[in-house]
């Protein structure tokens, strides 16, 4: 799990262009949207692409994403349960 969390942080930094950030800088339990990292709806769309590309998980709409993208840990748990690749 911790390995997946670390890998996910790296992927998030890459796909969202979080320049100058390291995986250690992201608190896996902190909210990603609004407070915490302060991501927005466009980031959510990028994360949806990431989920499908890297883990074969297809989300139906942005609302579904909202539930899953609460924190890096929640995403990692969801991936563990649903990944197809």
């Amino acid at each position: 799990m911790e390995e997946l969390i670390y890998k996910l942080k790296e992927e998030i930094i890459d796909v969202l262009n979080l320049e100058g950030m390291k995986p250690e800088d992201i608190d896996e339990n902190a909210p990603l949207f609004g407070e915490g990292l302060g991501l927005d709806s466009i980031d959510a769309l990028e994360l949806i692409v990431l989920m499908e590309k890297n883990y074969g998980i297809k989300l139906k709409n942005a609302n579904e994403g909202k539930e899953i993208f609460k924190s890096v840990r929640v995403i990692a748990e969801y991936i563990n349960e649903h990944k197809t690749k």
């Binding site: 262009n17 320049e19 302060g38 709806s41 466009i42 769309l45 990028e46 949806i48 692409v49 709409n61």
Partner: protein, 769 residues
């Protein structure tokens, strides 16, 4: 008050070709959205509003040879334009001053996406390279009717493009620049657009349900529509039937988010309020609202709240007609203007199809069945684009007003000043070092020298930005700082290509990944108006916001827009800017069609101008314009005239008119700033002009320092401003002639043309004399 009337309309959409089929379709209350039949894509799960005619059939309608290289966006436009011009009884080569303003967002993309690999790898499809950009579409649309138009331009504000074309056309008429304005927009379906909207997850796989609680996105459509606008006086003089009046309009910026509308719909609210204000009507006078109503969760909720704020509990009947036509994007503003005018004419209200129950919090229900025999007098139509480019127009039943309408010369000429300038280019960024010690370009594809953007943009905002956005924001903030100005009434951007880097990235991904797993960010950034809306977002500027993408006169078009509005007294200060970037691939593509020199572009080579092309220079320039006199102003803009395909006599009379208006003769001009670039054909036009108009006057050039790009002409205005302020012309800017040392530099003429088609003349004067 100049009364503006509509004397011709033309339309083509999924509902059919022409007004008759459109009215029949609307009255039948049946959607024209259905499965994809013509567009070559794998996304057949997405319903679209596709025009039922093939390219070949469209070509037949306008008698175009089947082998002509063109694109669907141009074809749709020509069909609609033909209908509008015929109804308005406009014959070619009339003496009237007629302008064409056309909106589109992805230009010739529908062909570029098919031939992109050819563009990169071989010479089989080179004839389509020059048709790729937005301005090229307008150029090709105008070509067929070239006897009609005295000026053409292209607006690219995504889904409000055509509404903004209506607004510019109306302003040009009010200001006396044009007598008749043909305005509208066009866009065909493309894989690029379909996949782009798909990455944003706002396409419904079912027919769209605007304003419904269960709405789940939009259906993409295609189409074109044009309106002929003119003064009441002109229509009466020409003795043509008047369809209705354009009684009000407004453009505001939501300045909230790159794609989403603010929760309380601030931009839409401002657009509707100001449109009402400009019409002199009250909210109660509106009999029908043709809403933007795309069917996306965000738009419909926010537009609904904005309408509730404007109309309170006296909400007029509302419908979105996008469930009939699909969302025709750039054409939507004119498609729905034409639908509004048809509703006025035939006194009916089209239905808001597929609606069942209201959105939580909404106090209104749209019209769900077609209503006939409704006494409509005033119809408001909304058009909103990405980046919060929000516009509203009001069309009213025409009432004869006799002599109320005054001539077009009554507008007072106000002094308009350039307060400050800021640039990022291959020269030292955010500085005027180029005026003393210029950098000598050393490659044929010169990128800009970057500034320290962290001073202007926080890292979270910067991370998604392409370099063009950063340059635009940095120069905007720098110019406001230099001009000691906190907020502006308008931001107007010229960009021929927009953020081409992101466009290419999306195109590559789409072709490489077979239309799957595409990055939404790249699509959003490819929309040309993103640059202008990012500036508005950063400056929290809710004022007028518009983007021009008209090849080599993109910046000039924006400047004309700002000068027109300042002259009308609608705005008092504005940012007007030009932003271009270049990528290696696009550089190579343009190289194939003669844009660049082959080996080097040193000054000596450029001066010889004995071969095609110049060198490429990325550029960003922001000018702050104001109507407030100040000792800090750099110079004053006295006059501007833009012309489409003028002969030398027309150019001459335009120049003489500009001079006469300012009580000047050609001998009062101290220097002529020209876009000489080393390209044989282009330079010949400039030098001919100089020989005929001002053989004795020193010529100044600037493209040898900044390179060639669609917005390079901005640097001509900039150079003139700095020369006038400093009262000196450094040797490295002089192309020919000499200025006596210490002689006052009072007036400068800036002359720009693009491929001898679109021309602009700008008279700029010193504030010292």
């Amino acid at each position: 008050m100049t009364k503006i009337v509509v004397t011709g309309i033309g339309i083509i959409s999924a509902l059919g070709n022409g007004k008759k089929q459109t009215v029949e379709g609307l009255r039948a209350g049946k959607t024209a959205v259905g499965p994809i039949r013509i567009l070559q894509t794998k996304h057949h799960e997405l319903p679209v509003g596709e025009v039922a005619l093939s390219d070949e059939e469209l070509k037949q309608l306008i008698n175009m040879p089947a082998a002509t290289a063109t694109n669907r966006t141009t074809l749709l436009a020509r069909v609609a334009l033909k209908e509008a011009l015929a109804e308005a009884q406009l014959a070619p080569n009339s003496s009237d001053s007629i302008v064409l303003i056309s909106g589109n967002t992805v230009g010739g993309m529908e062909k570029s996406e098919q031939y992109y690999r050819d563009f990169l790898q071989n010479d089989h499809r080179n004839e389509y390279i020059g048709l790729h950009d937005c301005g090229a579409c307008t150029e090709k649309i105008a070509e067929e009717f070239s006897g009609h138009f005295k000026f053409t331009s292209t607006i690219s504000t995504a889904c409000s493009s055509a509404a903004n074309a209506v607004i510019l056309g109306a302003n040009l008429i009010k200001d006396g620049t044009a007598e008749i304005a043909v305005v509208g927009g066009t866009e065909c379906l493309s894989k690029f657009h379909l996949n782009g909207f798909n990455t944003l997850m706002i396409l419904d796989k079912e027919p769209c349900k605007p304003f419904d609680a269960q709405r789940n996105g939009l259906n993409l459509g295609e189409g074109a529509a044009y309106l002929v606008l003119e003064t009441e006086e002109s229509a009466l003089r020409r003795n043509v039937p008047i369809l209705c009046e354009l009684s009000g309009y407004s453009n505001s910026c939501d300045a909230f988010h790159q794609t989403a509308t603010s929760p309380n719909g601030e931009g839409p609210y401002l657009a509707m309020c100001k449109a009402l204000q400009s019409s002199g009507l009250s909210a109660n006078d509106i009999d029908y609202i043709n809403a933007h109503g795309t069917g996306t969760p965000n738009n419909d909720e926010c537009e609904g709240y904005a309408m509730m704020r404007v109309f309170g509990d006296k909400m007029p009947p509302i419908s979105s007609t996008k469930a009939y036509t699909g969302h025709t994007t750039s054409a939507a503003g004119s498609v729905e203007s034409v639908i509004s005018i048809l509703a006025l004419k035939h006194q009916f209200i089209p239905a808001n199809l597929h609606y069942h129950s209201p959105i939580e919090g909404h106090s209104f229900k749209p019209v769900t069945e077609v209503r006939e025999n409704v006494p409509l007098k005033h119809v408001l139509t909304n058009s909103f684009g990405f980046g919060g480019n929000d516009s509203s127009c009001i069309f009213s039943a025409y009432q004869v007003t006799g002599n109320r309408c005054q001539g077009t010369d009554s507008t007072p000429q106000r002094p308009i000043f350039i307060r400050a300038a800021s640039q990022i280019s291959l020269q030292a960024p955010l500085s005027e070092q180029w005026f003393e010690e210029p950098v000598v370009p050393d490659t044929l594809n010169c990128d800009s020298q970057e500034a320290n953007y962290s001073l202007y943009i926080n890292p979270m905002a910067a991370r998604r930005m392409g370099k063009l956005f950063k340059r635009a924001i940095a120069t905007a903030m720098d110019v406001l700082h230099k001009g000691n100005c906190e907020q502006v009434d308008a931001i107007v951007t010229g960009t021929g290509l927009g953020c081409i880097e992101h466009t290419e990235k999306f195109l590559h991904a789409m072709l490489d990944n077979d239309e799957e797993l595409l990055p939404p960010t790249h699509f959003m950034q490819s929309t040309h108006n993103t640059i202008s809306s990012q500036m508005a977002l950063h400056l929290k500027c809710h004022g007028y916001n518009c983007t021009y993408s008209h090849r080599g006169t993109s910046f000039d078009s924006g400047l004309l827009d700002v000068l027109t509005q300042m002259n009308l007294g609608d705005i008092h200060n504005a940012l007007v800017c030009g932003h271009e970037e270049m990528t290696p691939d696009y550089f190579n593509m343009l190289g194939k069609i003669g844009y660049w020199k082959k080996e080097s572009a040193d000054e000596e080579t450029l001066r010889r101008h004995d071969s095609n092309g110049s060198f490429s220079g990325s550029c960003s320039l922001n000018l702050l314009l104001t109507d407030t006199p100040s000792a800090d102003n750099l110079c004053t803009i006295r006059a501007m005239k833009m012309l489409y395909k003028p002969d030398s006599q027309q150019l001459d009379s335009a120049l003489q008119r500009i001079l006469a208006q300012n009580n000047l003769t050609v001998n009062d001009i101290s220097a002529v700033v020209m876009g000489l670039s080393g390209d044989q054909a282009n330079d010949e036009v400039y030098l001919n002009f100089a020989r005929q108009q001002c053989p004795e006057i020193p010529l100044v050039w600037y493209k040898h320092l900044f390179g060639e790009s669609y917005c390079a002409s901005a640097f001509g205005v900039y150079a003139a401003a700095v020369i006038l302020q400093r009262q000196t012309i450094p040797n490295h800017l002089i192309y020919k002639g000499k200025i006596a040392k210490g002689a006052p530099i009072k007036h400068i003429l800036v002359y720009n043309h693009f491929q001898n088609k679109d021309h602009s003349l700008i008279l700029i004067s010193s504030c010292l004399y």
